[in-house]
């Protein structure tokens, strides 16, 4: 049987704070697992324990109780990190390095050298669409560009698991969309993605399964479709339906005692989609002129 990409069992993490030695339970007996090849989202409000859980998975923190395994290896085992790529929230990296130098630095840390590294860097710069800015220093990158170079560095050693902490935080809607597209691409390539976010709409768009964490405890977990679908309701979207057709449907519904129409109206696009469409059209116009 294949090991789960991430297996968290009864994880508890306690922090002591202040001179009075007050204790804060950041994560309380948390259990979940991420299957290989899926996009798993851990969602919850700020301070709910998402980042702490992520840091334990990355080996940056040790658990007080419980076990955390990455592809069957203890998360504290350095060998587990061969399989992990990590993008922290709002990363800065070394601002004095260019995009290419940043990827070279992280590649070398992973033991990559020469032609293999050079080719991988070119491949990743193309993937995150930063070929034009490859020689620019990171000090001149926008937030979205930093996030994309961050994603590229997380993928440098071809990890099987990518851990993303608030991957779209502070990025404009277009940049945010690009990052989500990249996550979907990774999923298509069979890479497991474990992300933490409080931007629920975005999580809904990319995740296969989600866990909802609150005050360090898992409140709900499961397949996203199962979690958000309202079992006893059915949505029907019609195209070019005349008032007569609608009246006919209403008549049919009225014939059944237990059935009722809950809502009626025009489906709406999201403000985000509207913004992206407009920005795309303007960019196209600019390119043409």
């Amino acid at each position: 049987m294949t090991d789960p990409a991430v297996d968290v069992q009864n994880l508890t993490k306690v922090f002591s704070a202040g001179l009075k030695r007050d204790y804060v339970v950041a994560v309380d007996n948390l259990s979940f697992s991420v299957r290989p090849g899926e996009v798993y989202g851990l969602i919850g409000p700020n301070g709910s324990g998402k980042s702490t859980t992520m840091k334990v998975v990355l080996g940056l923190m040790a658990a007080n109780e419980g076990t955390v395994k990455v592809f069957g290896r203890d998360s504290g085992d350095i060998r587990a990190r061969n399989e992990i790529g990590f993008l922290p929230e709002n990363p800065y990296f070394y601002r004095h390095l260019s995009g290419t130098e940043t990827l070279q630095f992280y590649g070398k840390l992973c033991g990559m050298r020469g032609r293999e590294l050079k080719e991988r860097i070119a491949e990743l710069l193309a993937l995150v669409d930063l070929e034009q800015a490859a020689k620019r220093r990171l000090a001149g990158y926008s937030k979205g560009m930093l996030q994309r170079i961050g994603l590229a560095q997380s993928l440098i050693q071809r990890p099987q698991l990518v851990v993303l902490d608030e991957p779209t935080a502070g990025v404009d809607p277009v940049g945010s969309r690009e990052i989500r597209d990249l996550i979907m691409k990774l999923r298509d390539e069979g890479i497991t993605v474990f992300l933490c976010s409080h931007l629920l709409e975005q999580v809904q768009e990319v995740c296969d399964r989600v866990g909802i964490i609150f005050r360090g405890r898992m409140r709900r977990e499961g397949n996203l479709d199962d979690l958000i679908s309202i079992e006893h309701q059915t949505a029907l979207t019609l195209e070019n339906a005349s008032p007569a057709v609608i009246a006919e449907i209403e008549e049919v519904v009225a014939r059944h005692e237990d059935v009722g129409i809950v809502g009626k109206g025009h489906p709406r696009t999201t403000l985000e989609r509207l913004f992206i469409d407009l920005a795309g059209r303007e960019r196209q116009k600019g390119d043409e002129s």
């Binding site: 090849g37 990355l58 040790a62 130098e101 069979g190």
Partner: protein
């Protein structure tokens, strides 16, 4: 959104062997540190040093040429030593807290990098920069001292020859006196002493920055330790020798003696600058003491850093 059951399966994870210590990762981190310090324009201080040395070199001190040259050398090498340790503190103190603040540390440590490799890499980077800086400062001093030396020799020669009352031996002796205080290869040992001292300062600063909350705190405490380290042998001797001191004072003095490096040990370079012969046994001993300090403080840093949670 896609059904996880239909997701492409991940290729099986690689189970790579992982060396206990990788010199190549240390070299990568050290090279990154060197680039970082160079691009932070830290070498601008060399310009300040060059201006200072040129200014000192042009002082006219009312003394014999040999004495004047000796004074210039003393001030130039003293300034070089000051710049080296100050640079070691400031540049080292910035490294780890900044990596932590920018979360660069997270991305580095989430790669297969051991914490000892990170610390050794940072230290090696600082040592390389220190070596380059000291060599550059030595070159500046060498040029200035050589120029002053030849100016003094020409002036002395023409003055003695014009007076026509000095024998060849007397002239040679006078020139020899000036040359003894001029640029000699032994002065490189004084530069080595400054490097060894700055290396100890750097490793102490790395140790402090593993638990300090800010660069400013690290810089202040490092400077304090440096100052105590210059006086502590005298102070501890006094406290330890005084039998009237209570046990707490004596224990405190012993703790300071163990924990704080004795920077006064490196003062042997002052004699070399003044023209005393090099005692090679002492140089080797100092190199070994420095290696000991580096090892002890690296281990102490690792003890703090290995379990540090980010």
């Amino acid at each position: 959104m896609t059904d996880p059951d239909t997701a492409s399966p991940s290729p099986p994870p690689r189970h790579l062997a992982h060396p206990v210590f990788s010199a190549s990762r240390v070299a990568t981190i050290a090279a990154g540190t060197v680039t970082q310090l160079i691009r932070m324009k830290t070498f601008y201080f060399l310009l300040a040093f060059a201006l200072l040395v040129v200014a000192v070199g042009n002082f006219n001190i009312p003394a014999t040429p040999a004495k004047e040259l000796s004074m210039i050398k003393k001030v130039a090498f003293g300034t070089m030593d000051l710049f080296a340790w100050l640079f070691a503190i400031v540049s080292t103190a910035l490294l780890i807290p900044r990596d932590e603040e920018d979360r660069t540390l997270y991305t580095i440590l989430s790669k297969p990098v051991r914490r000892i490799e990170y610390l050794v890499g940072k230290l090696c980077g600082v040592l390389v920069i220190l070596a380059i800086s000291l060599l550059a400062m030595f070159a500046i001093c060498a040029v200035m001292i050589s120029m002053r030396e030849s100016a003094f020799i020409s002036a002395e020669l023409s003055s003695m020859l014009s007076q026509e009352r000095y024998s060849e031996d007397e002239i040679r002796q006078q020139i020899g006196l000036i040359q003894a205080q001029g640029m000699r290869p032994e002065l490189a040992v004084a530069v080595l002493a400054s490097f060894l001292k700055a290396a100890v300062v750097a490793v102490v600063t790395i140790f402090l920055s593993t638990f300090a909350s800010s660069s400013l705190f690290t810089i202040i405490v490092s400077i304090l330790i440096f100052l105590i380290g210059h006086a502590h042998s005298m102070a501890t001797n006094f406290w330890l020798a005084e039998t009237e001191n209570n046990i707490l004072v004596r224990m405190g003095a012993k703790v300071i003696r163990i924990l704080i490096p004795d920077y006064q040990l490196f003062a042997f370079s002052e004699g070399i600058v003044l023209g005393e012969p090099v005692v090679w046994g002492l140089v080797v001993q100092m190199a070994l003491i420095t290696a000991g300090y580096l090892l002890v403080f690296l281990l102490l840093s690792l003890l703090v850093f290995v379990d540090k949670e980010f």
